[in-house]
Amino acid sequence: MRTVPWVCRSCLLRISRTLTRRNVRYQSSSSTPESVPSALLARARSIAAEHRQLNEKLANGFDARAAKQLGQYGPVITALNEWQSASESMTELTSLIHDPTTDPELLALASDDLETTRSHLADASHSLISALVPVHPFAHLPCLIEIRPGAGGSEAAIFAGDLLRMYQSFCNRNNLRVTLLKYENADGTAEAGAPLSEAIIEVDSAGAYGVFRCEAGVHRVQRVPATETKGRTHTSAASVLVLPSIQDNASGEENIDDPDSDYYVDLKEVKVEIMRAGGAGGQHVNKTESAVRLTHIPTNITVSMQDSRSQPKNKEKAWQLLRSRLAQTRREKREEEAVAIRRSVVGVAKMGRGDKIRTYNWNQQRVTDHRSGMTVHGLDDVMGGGQTLDTVMESVRSWLMEKDVEALIAEEEGGTRR
């Protein structure tokens, strides 16, 4: 299997425009509007060559595998052809303009044409890049967001609650369906503003994972806590975990019945414990126990659910959560190896649960994302899940995309492609 980072294609298309305009700011080494990194271009050309060979093979008789491969290459070939014709017109126009023998009338025409051709080429470049960069296999899925306080005592717990409301408002504003799966306060009630000990929300809209996966990691807060009497600024943190959420009837990589899927869980490896009334049970007692606990024996991962009065509902949610957590662990393990190799090449920081990714500073009313390097000043708007949060998140996605492209190039240059 190829080990490349994943990118959400729909985000990527939106981002590629930002990327090119802001490339100075992000000090990108790649992708100026008209250019496709040479390594990527080389790759596209080798795909085109393979495409021709496959075509010949098919001409000599049907081969199902070849046909499938051919279909997969289709978008790359189209994008490459368009890029080629755009860049040829570009070359032609520039040489006309630079040629001192070109007559004035033609020169005027060529100059007129230059702008449209340039933007044409920019579009073609974006299409080609996005056809080559693989899409994250789970980007199209809904997701689960788990929020827990980190270091910093009750202030961390209050901040965790702030983050929860931030994401909820963000979802509401963007018409993403969001439900609270689990909400536990340090004091066991569900009142807002109380310190949070754990919250899990489900964003049940397609593509949510692609939108939120860049939120995973440690979020740091710097402010004077409400409880602080001496006016000192504290630094605390909350951690956010983002998991793709799969439905029972899913297909492909997230098919839970497919042993090769990350989401596959061998039923025999899971201990199911349901809270029973205890004692004689049956007609003798009328307790309201509905808690369910699942333990995945090989990894010792446990999840428990008790929010609903319905035991089957708790069980269903617990399974969903267990599958998502297991899949995440598996994927991380697999990607860790890939990251180790890549890091030595391009120095891509791993985005995982351990890394500090963003700082929210109340005194300066600013938010800084440590990956994209972007700083914004509308703290209130960020915490309210507003447009400013969009901007920050988008900067991370485009950073991520850039890293992906770099990694891909590094891989090409390293000649790791089969």
Binding site: G282, S310, Q311
Partner: protein
């Protein structure tokens, strides 16, 4: 009942002033927190239009009722039986999770059967809230759209039949017109021998089937009858059960010359006889524990009509990690307390995935009966 430690009370008070009173019925903090949350949600739902003060009063009132031992299910008015929400009212027994586990399991097994009758008929004796037919329908029809289900719930209690009717209508209305199942209810006394003298107000089961022109033959018989003996009633049931749930649902009536154990077992001989008369192929009877299960299994064996009998614990679908796994020649499967006795015969074994295929003449004969036209009303009270 042991006192609640002061440290726990203090801890609870620190979290929420309403928690300490809930510790008495719940015993542990986690359960009390859950109940408080559900009570809050309930107040939010039933009094959403009222002011904050009024809601608060209502919540305090609920907490107080609960602290006095009133079952949460009677306060909230519902209980989940498997995934099905069932209405509960004082005077009718609250459905138990343990019952739901056995019913779910048997419905799943039957749902996997290769071939089933063109209509599957399930008789539920002592139906209470009607929870068993409703859950069976829910589980079975989620896997089998091809076989229409016909259930009949029977209970002696007028309150129970009324509540069950309400539950059936509510659940089926939610399912709109997508359901092909019929659930009927009749009031009848399961215990009286149809040939003995009849009480005037409640007919015997046989009389009721005749009277409402209901089919005389049923594929399955399920029952969670009263099975608590008088001494176990005092020793084993919790005070909330004794003070708030109907005794008639728990303790069988006293009979002449019966000892304590025999009184607790009073329904089973009758239920097995009904199973024979209606030609049930699969019989599932809930019991109090392994000892009662073995006694019931023996009764069933003595009828010499079943091909197999086994005992299920609370979670029949879980691997057995408990001794004994067999007693008196009956296999004991699953985890938890002894909870039910499963008997099968003829094609019933096939439906449960038990025996190799064979067809008896009796099976074919009853198929002819089935195809005769019948007259029924949807709800017969």
């Amino acid at each position: 009942m042991p006192r609640i430690p002061t440290s726990l009370l203090r801890q609870a008070r620190k979290l929420d002033a309403l928690l300490p009173p809930l510790l008495a019925p719940c015993r542990d903090l986690g359960a009390a927190q859950n109940e408080l949350r559900w009570l809050r949600e309930h107040v939010d739902k039933v009094a959403s239009t009222r002011g904050h003060r009024e809601q608060d009063t209502l919540l305090r009132n609920f907490v107080q009722q609960r602290a006095s031992g009133k079952p949460l299910q009677y306060i909230l008015g519902t209980e989940y039986f498997g995934p099905v929400e069932i209405r509960c009212r004082p005077g009718v027994l609250i459905p138990r999770q343990d019952t739901a586990a056995s019913v779910t399991h048997v419905a799943q097994l039957i749902g996997r059967a290769q071939s089933l009758p063109s209509e599957l008929r399930v008789l539920d004796l002592c139906t209470g809230t009607g929870c068993i037919p409703l859950l069976f329908d829910d589980v079975f029809t989620s896997t089998r759209r091809d076989v229409p289900l016909r259930c009949l719930g029977v209970d002696i209690s007028e309150k129970a039949i009324e509540l069950a009717g309400h539950n059936v209508m509510r659940v089926q209305r939610e399912k709109k017109d997508t359901t092909t199942s019929t659930i009927e209810l009749v009031r009848a006394d399961v215990l009286v021998d149809p040939f003995a003298e009849q009480a005037i107000d409640v007919p015997s089961l046989k009389a009721a089937l005749n009277m409402y022109r209901l089919p005389p033959f049923w594929d399955m018989l399920i029952s969670n009858p009263p099975y608590v003996s008088p001494s176990a009633y005092w020793k084993t049931t919790t005070s909330s059960v004794r003070h708030f749930e109907p005794r008639i649902a728990l303790v069988p009536p006293a009979g002449k010359g019966q000892d304590d154990t025999q009184q607790g077992d009073a329904f089973y001989q009758r239920l097995i006889t009904v199973a024979r008369d209606v030609e049930a192929r699969v019989v599932l009877l809930e019991v109090a524990d392994v000892d009662q299960a073995v006694r019931v299994a023996r009764m069933a064996k003595d009828m010499q009509m079943f091909d197999g009998i086994e005992i299920w614990r609370d979670e029949p679908d879980q691997c057995s990690d408990q001794e004994p796994t067999e007693q008196d020649g009956f296999a004991i499967v699953g985890r938890g307390n002894g909870r039910s006795v499963l008997c099968w015969r003829e094609r019933g074994g096939l439906w449960l995935g038990k025996t190799p295929a064979w067809e008896s003449d009796a099976d074919r004969l009853s198929e002819t009966y089935r195809s005769m036209p019948r007259l029924t009303s949807k709800y017969s009270f």
